[in-house]
């Protein structure tokens, strides 16, 4: 389901840019998830919009670079979720708006581009949230007294036994069941810094057991956006749930299709791991 949105447009009724802001706002308001805010009434009586502002994300449409609508939102200390400037959109399309209000193909194209920009940034935001998979299903094999689990799908692995699972432009990184069994009881997780940019195969911190320190070799390139803080108090979650609760780092991906070239999917990693444990005495 899409989020509720309220739209605060420019109120320049006497000029072309203002007219296009109004038209874009009216089109957005056709959707049942969007409410219009009249800038004049908002300025006069904010309480009239208190409820809609509390429930919905605010999109501001400025007509020109005077940015009256943005400034009004700023003066009232409203938090702006997204904003578009009609004049800048027109400039990017190399369309001259002029002053007079008129109906033309160029002007219709600007309105459509404004709408596309607003909708695509909403889609970007939806993608910038990591959505946890509902239930992960596993395949397993045994070697001696050990049983190794590998998810059936949606995970990718490097040959350093670190995994990544992707949700839109976001992903989570962790270590495989093999690593946690090899290390045995994880005592300490040393995470990377939030905001760190890293290349594929760079290290993303480490995990430590009484046996050894294991460096997390990143399966992807990107930026660290979060670390699993629940592991500070409960590092054993890496042992108990290496592919789910024991995730280590949340990242914004840079170029996953490029990274994928050097990653195994689940069945390939399953085979790789089977070979590996027979070669190395676990």
């Amino acid at each position: 389901m899409s989020e509720l949105r309220c739209v605060l447009p420019c109120n320049g009724l006497d000029k072309c840019a203002g007219d296009l802001s109004r038209r874009a706002a009216l089109e957005l308001a056709q959707s049942e998830n969007a409410a219009l805010i009249c800038p004049v009434l908002l300025n006069q009586n904010r309480s009239r919009y208190e409820k809609v502002l509390a429930d919905a994300n605010l999109t501001v449409i400025d007509g020109c670079n005077t940015r009256c609508a943005s400034k009004l939102a700023g003066d009232l200390e409203l938090s702006i979720n997204d904003k578009v400037n009609v004049s800048e959109v027109a400039k990017a399309l190399e369309i001259k708006l002029g002053v007079d209000i008129q109906e033309s193909d160029d002007n219709r194209a600007v309105v459509q581009a404004v709408l596309a920009k607003i909708n695509s940034s909403a889609a970007d935001q939806a993608e910038s949230e990591f959505i946890e998979p509902e239930a992960v299903e596993y395949n397993s094999f045994s070697h001696g007294k050990f049983i190794f689990k590998v998810p059936q799908n949606n995970y990718f692995f490097n040959e350093n036994d670190c995994w990544v699972t992707v949700s839109g432009k976001m992903a989570r990184v962790g270590v495989s069941d093999y690593v946690q069994q090899n290390l045995s009881d994880i005592l300490y997780v040393d995470p990377p810094e939030i905001g760190d940019e890293f290349e594929q195969f760079d290290d993303l911190g480490s995990i430590e057991s009484s046996k050894a320190v294991f460096e997390i070799v990143s399966p992807v390139s990107g930026t660290v956006v979060a670390v699993n803080t629940s592991l500070n108090d409960a590092p054993e979650q890496v042992n108990e749930s290496p592919y789910e609760k024991g995730w280590l780092v949340e990242v914004k991906l840079r170029d996953f299709s490029e990274d994928q070239d050097l990653l195994h999917d689940c069945p390939a990693y399953f085979e790789f791991l089977q070979r590996k444990v027979t070669e190395i005495d676990v």
């Binding site: 350093n160 195969f201 050894a212 320190v213 460096e215 070799v217």
Partner: protein, 100 residues
């Protein structure tokens, strides 16, 4: 063909192993104790005692021994360069397989 590979590329074609700066090394042998893959070797009669005997045992992209090294005497090749090289070899092999 060598048995050991990394992403399908023979291990001995990938230049990834520790480099020891003997002007910094203090013979503590922490790296030797740390590495479970017998990459290092110690010869008490040699000078220096420490050597990288089995570079191809080194896990590609692992730099953990460098982190255990107090005097910071261990370095590794550049990761992005190594990644690029592995990709180039894989690409060349794919092309070759296609042309067969």
């Amino acid at each position: 063909m060598s048995e050991s590979t990394f992403m399908g590329v023979e291990r001995d074609r990938i230049d990834w192993s520790p480099r020891i700066d003997f002007t910094k090394c203090n013979d503590c042998m922490d790296c030797v104790k740390f590495c479970p893959h017998q990459v290092f070797d110690v010869d008490e009669n040699a000078k220096p005692k420490l050597s990288v005997k089995n570079p191809n045992n080194c896990v590609v992209f692992c730099r953990a021994c460098a982190k255990t090294c107090g005097p910071d005497a261990i370095s590794f090749p550049d990761k992005p360069e190594t990644t690029k090289m592995i990709k180039a070899i894989r690409k060349a092999e794919k092309e070759a397989a296609k042309n067969e």
